[in-house]
Symmetry: C2
Subunit: 202 residues, 2 copies
């Protein structure tokens, strides 16, 4: 079993933190997206969507998509639970993970893709769209600060995959020059709480 | 237990089909998005993100996000399985569900939002971005046709949540004037296969 990834990218980091929380060791293979290594015939044969992270199972199955990879390991080794212990928890955690993805990670990534040179050679850019996405990501810092005023973690009392998604999204916002502001005290306290876990440096 | 939805919208339809496949009866409450009913103080108190579908549990918990609602019911009543029976199946089905969402449903929705009048009063539109999304959605019809040349369902041999997402996305593409083409025979055969299930008219 091995995972193809690019270590500095936010999505592979989500998987590394998830596996570190579960204490699962993994072999990693670096794929350099900036050099276009994901466009090679060899990589496309493994994943026609050309994304990392990409999990290769020992039976030759390939699983792409960050949360699909996490789901595989949650089912393989349930403890410690990062996606819920009962129907209500599973629903609430999946809700928050998706809220963070759709309202924060997605605009963060699109701002980066449409307003910087990083992917300019590979994708058509619409800077006006990228700036709207920057606004949306900035607004989400305040929303999340309000949300964290009454609970220690994104989905409630317990650390979950939603915290991993939010941590990687917040840190990745550096590339868009967006950082937590001093008045966002609940967001800052949460960020310190999740960043101090050993998994954060995985 | 009840679900707030708008019957003609694609995301609520995903949940209705999912519940019909499991044989679960539900009370539905209609929310008219075009009249802006999701912007009311009453609705925002239930869901600050103002989205439908929205599940209200008997204990007062609200769960938004289509797949989070499906996850709740998959955990509550596992059979018939729509999200996988073992780690590998769960991973592969989640991968395909997310591939359909990110590469087809998302551009389909953004094309609709940015190139029609439907949401013009509520959202800033970037028509150039909407047209790029239309191209992306159109391209995906061919990709999915190729994918379905070798297997009957999106995630393999069995019907799953990924087929529900793809069916609702394909049908919703009517609003963007995108339909399957006669040469996309595998896609057309799959569409007939999944549309003929009783759940498709839920």
């Amino acid at each position: 079993m091995k995972i193809y990834e690019m270590k500095i990218a936010p999505s592979p980091r989500r998987v590394r933190i998830f596996l570190a929380e579960k204490g699962i060791e993994m072999e990693y293979v670096e794929v350099n997206l900036q050099k276009g290594e994901h466009h090679s015939a060899e990589f496309k044969a493994m994943n026609r969507f050309k994304t990392v992270p990409l999990l290769e199972l020992d039976d030759g199955t390939f699983i792409s998509e960050t949360v699909a990879i996490c789901r595989y390991f949650e089912e393989l080794q349930p403890e410690p639970r990062l996606m819920g212990r009962n129907p209500r928890e599973c629903g609430v955690i999946e809700m928050w993970n998706r809220i963070i993805e759709l309202n924060w990670l997605l605009p963060t990534g699109m701002c980066f893709q449409h307003t910087t040179d990083y992917f300019a050679a590979f994708k058509k850019q619409v800077p006006e769209w990228g700036e709207l996405c920057r606004d949306k990501s900035r607004d989400f810092f305040d929303l999340l600060n309000d949300h964290l005023a009454t609970q220690p973690y994104i989905a409630g009392e317990d650390y979950s995959i939603a915290d991993i998604t939010a941590l990687c999204t917040l840190d990745f916002n550096k590339v868009n020059q967006l950082r937590p502001q001093p008045h966002q005290e609940h967001l800052l306290a949460w960020h310190k709480r999740v960043s101090s876990r050993p998994s954060a440096s995985a």
